[in-house]
């Protein structure tokens, strides 16, 4: 792999803390380290750096939040500044599921199906009160929060949230990716038992 041979590029990719740690070690220790665990950490960081700056969202806009999401994508707020403008409606090509709007009971099988079709690593942002908790629709046909059926990484509050809040949500997710935040909700996720298996 090119990363181990090219010292210059690996150093650039080190987070500041790691660089300090490495410079305090002598050359031999550094070499030893690169043979054991340091290599894995570096690649993780490299992958995380790439992942966080090239989130391809699948905009699952169902309601009013979908209209505000258009604003987020639009010229004034411009999600492209965060590397997340390449919207993909095919779950196979997307790594960020942006659920913007109310999810009804009728929609649940579709939402879970789409989530399952996405390839790892995959992230979920729940935009707005309805997606996060059912919002003020405590009613017979509305799912009371999508975290009941799929694992959610970031909840963005608001009804609908302002575009700034959505950008903040995306940046929070980017930080989580860069810092390798543990995601037990994702690791322990099980498909809801009330859903029929997909043929």
């Amino acid at each position: 792999m090119g990363e181990t041979q090219n010292n210059q590029s690996t150093e650039l990719l080190h987070p500041p803390g790691a660089q300090q740690l490495i410079s305090s070690l002598n050359d031999r220790a550094l070499e030893e380290m690169s043979k054991s665990f340091a290599f894995a950490t570096r690649l993780d960081d490299l992958v995380a750096w790439g992942a966080k700056n090239a989130l391809w969202p699948l905009p699952y806009g169902t309601a009013c939040c979908g209209i505000e999401l258009m604003s987020v994508m639009g010229p004034k707020y411009d999600l492209a500044r965060f590397g997340a403008e390449v919207v993909r409606f095919s779950p196979r090509q997307a790594d960020l599921l942006l659920v913007a709007g109310t999810i009804t009971e009728k929609m649940v099988p579709v939402l879970v199906h789409i989530y399952e079709q996405m390839l790892d690593p995959k992230y979920v942002i729940s935009m707005g009160a309805c997606a996060s908790s059912g919002g003020f629709y405590r009613s017979y046909h509305v799912l009371q929060g999508i975290d009941k059926v799929i694992p959610v990484d970031v909840f963005v509050p608001g009804c609908p949230p302002t575009p700034e809040a959505v950008l903040d949500g995306v940046m929070t997710l980017q930080r989580m990716i860069a810092e390798h935040t543990p995601r037990p909700w994702r690791d322990n996720w099980k498909r809801p038992s009330f859903l029929k298996p997909i043929e």
């Binding site: 169902t62 604003s71 009971e105 009728k106 929609m107 003020f136 009613s139 017979y140």
Partner: protein, 567 residues
């Protein structure tokens, strides 16, 4: 068929019909709605006569009311309520028929085909069975749902999970033959870029031609009507925002106007002016989304980005007015929530100039564009007669050549004093719908300009203590204000017992509210008549026989907003 009938003639006709048959009754409610109560067994005969005589050629709405709590002890539990409209005299008639829990009522779909989805909805929500309906299945709730949620004995928060999505399915059609053709099933949505959210289209295609099509809705059924029944009148306003969320203020206005009419109050001139400005700005941004999204679907991404720049302009105005961008909830029953900030009307005038330029630019970008013309002309054309029979209203009806706009035909607020025109198309195709929308934006901006230049002085709300909360300085400053506030919050405003139908011209067409009050602080029943619900039921008909690629522009031109479609 008579070509000119006056309102009185139509009323006389209905009255005669009411007196003629046994068990029928004609009456006018205190707020001025004409109601004909009929025996459920004569439904077919009565509607056949209305349709054939040409007196009431358009069916606006079919709904149902559960009387188990309103008039306990009544023999027959449900009222099936029909709303009729005459496109010639512009008069309206409400027809009611009582139906018991175990009884059925004849479907009027063979007479008014626009009744199809409305009857399915009444069945879904109340369990009333319509005899002779071609496809009486659930429409808004999911297929595994048990019970009928708008019955008074169904709890608002009793959720039921759905275990799977339905496979591709079609409505039964005896005339359809698939022999000798290689038909390929095709599913679009409910999460597909062209469906903008939650619509699902199913089709069988023969090469590039659509052999048959069907749609499934209800993926955004958020139970608006049940929520309205469980909230005080003023708290329903934020729910109305989320009906057609592309032009939220118009729903606020439509709802408040209905409640105000039932209360018998007229709002001050200044509140009217603010409502007109909000409504017309909303119409413009609604058309922006409709046309911008349609352009994206046809490959013109620039148009969308361009129009969104200007949509942000209007958002900024809304934000200045009340702090919210999209769902403003700015109206209250009796007027507005607060006065406009200083200089706001001048800001609006500034924005109008820019918006005018934006509409011109859109016009230059698309109207003469060859690709745009070829993708939209002679596609999805519909005759005036067909459009009326489906219950089309708004830009789609006007594109078909019927110049009905409630702002002219039954003027409300200050619309009769304003100078504006109603653009009308000829063929009803996608291109005409586009042209009508562009011309309408220009007219709306003209209206905003006129109102802004001449804002009436005065209060922004009425000061009736039984309706409107007192000012905060009163609440904190003296005991009367505090008590007034307390009583209004605890008991709520209470309209008199009765029912009414009230409609406004929203961006998509006639947005109607049928409100039944039992005199308490919450609506007993609130039915929304969403314009795109009636339009969308003609969709399978519009696309069948056409090319697959035409499905997308037809869908875009109908401007389907899931929030008001599914409620």
């Amino acid at each position: 068929m008579e070509t000119t009938t006056t309102n009185d003639q139509t009323r006389d006709y209905a009255r005669e019909l009411g007196i003629a048959a046994a068990g029928h009754q004609f009456l006018t409610t205190p707020v001025g709605d004409d109601v004909l109560e009929i025996n459920k067994d004569s439904v077919t005969e009565v509607f056949r006569r209305f349709k054939d005589s040409g007196k009431f050629d358009m069916l606006i709405d079919v709904t149902c009311v559960d009387h188990s709590k309103l008039t306990p002890g009544r023999k027959k539990r449900f009222d099936v309520v029909y709303h009729l409209f005459s496109t010639k005299s512009f008069s309206r008639l409400r027809v009611k028929a009582q139906v018991g829990e175990e009884e059925t009522i004849a479907s009027i779909t063979p007479i008014y085909r626009g009744a199809n989805w409305f009857e399915r909805e009444a069945f879904d929500m109340f369990g009333v069975r319509f005899d002779g309906h071609p496809n009486l299945t659930r429409i808004l709730t999911h297929h595994e749902f048990v019970g009928h949620p708008l019955r008074k004995d169904y709890d608002a928060d009793q959720q039921q999970h759905c275990s799977s999505a339905l496979p591709v399915h079609f409505q039964p059609d005896p005339n359809f033959k698939s022999e000798g053709r290689q038909l390929v099933p095709l599913n679009i949505g409910p999460s597909h870029p062209a469906t903008h959210g939650t619509l699902r289209i199913m089709a069988e295609i023969d090469g590039e031609t659509i052999a048959r099509a069907n749609v499934e809705i209800g993926f955004l059924h958020r139970c608006f009507e049940k929520m309205a029944e469980t909230h005080p009148y003023n708290q329903v306003i934020p729910y109305t925002d989320r009906l057609n969320y592309c032009s939220a203020p118009m729903n606020n206005i439509g709802y408040c106007k209905a409640v105000e009419r039932l209360l018998g109050v007229e709002i001050p001139q200044k509140a009217q002016a603010m409502r007109v400005i909000l409504a017309e700005l909303s119409r413009v941004i609604d058309h922006f989304i409709c046309l911008g999204a349609m352009a994206v679907d046809l490959g013109a991404l620039t148009g969308f980005f361009h129009l969104f720049t200007y949509r942000e302009l209007v958002y900024t105005l809304f934000e200045k007015l009340c702090g919210a961008r999209l769902t403003v909830s700015m109206t209250r029953i009796g007027g507005m929530a607060q006065d406009a900030p200083e200089g706001w009307f001048d800001d609006v005038l500034d924005a109008v100039k820019k918006l005018n330029a934006a509409v011109d630019e859109l016009d230059r970008l698309l109207t003469g564009n060859k690709i745009w013309q070829q993708r939209t002309q002679n596609i999805g054309a519909i005759s005036a007669e067909d459009a009326i029979s489906w219950g089309y209203t708004g830009p789609c009806l006007r594109a078909a050549g019927v110049g009905i706009d409630l702002r002219k035909t039954q003027p409300y607020y200050m619309y009769d004093q304003l100078d504006f025109k109603i653009p009308v198309g000829t063929t009803g195709d996608v291109f005409d719908r586009y042209l009508v929308r562009v011309a309408e934006m220009k007219e709306s901006l003209k209206i905003v300009e006129q109102v802004c230049k001449n804002v009436p002085a005065g209060d922004y709300t009425i000061r009736d203590k039984s309706i409107v909360l007192p000012e905060k300085s009163e609440v904190y400053g003296n005991i009367e204000g505090l008590m007034n506030h307390f009583m209004l919050v605890i008991k709520g405003l209470r309209p008199p017992v009765g029912d009414l139908y009230d409609a406004t011209e929203a961006a998509n067409g006639e947005l109607g509210f049928y409100l039944v009050s039992d005199g308490s602080g919450r609506p007993y029943r609130l039915k929304v008549r969403p314009p795109c619900f009636a339009i969308y039921q003609s969709f399978p008909d519009s696309v069948t026989g056409g090319l697959l690629s035409d499905v997308i522009p037809i869908m875009g031109s109908m401007n389907l907003i899931a929030g008001e479609l599914d409620r």
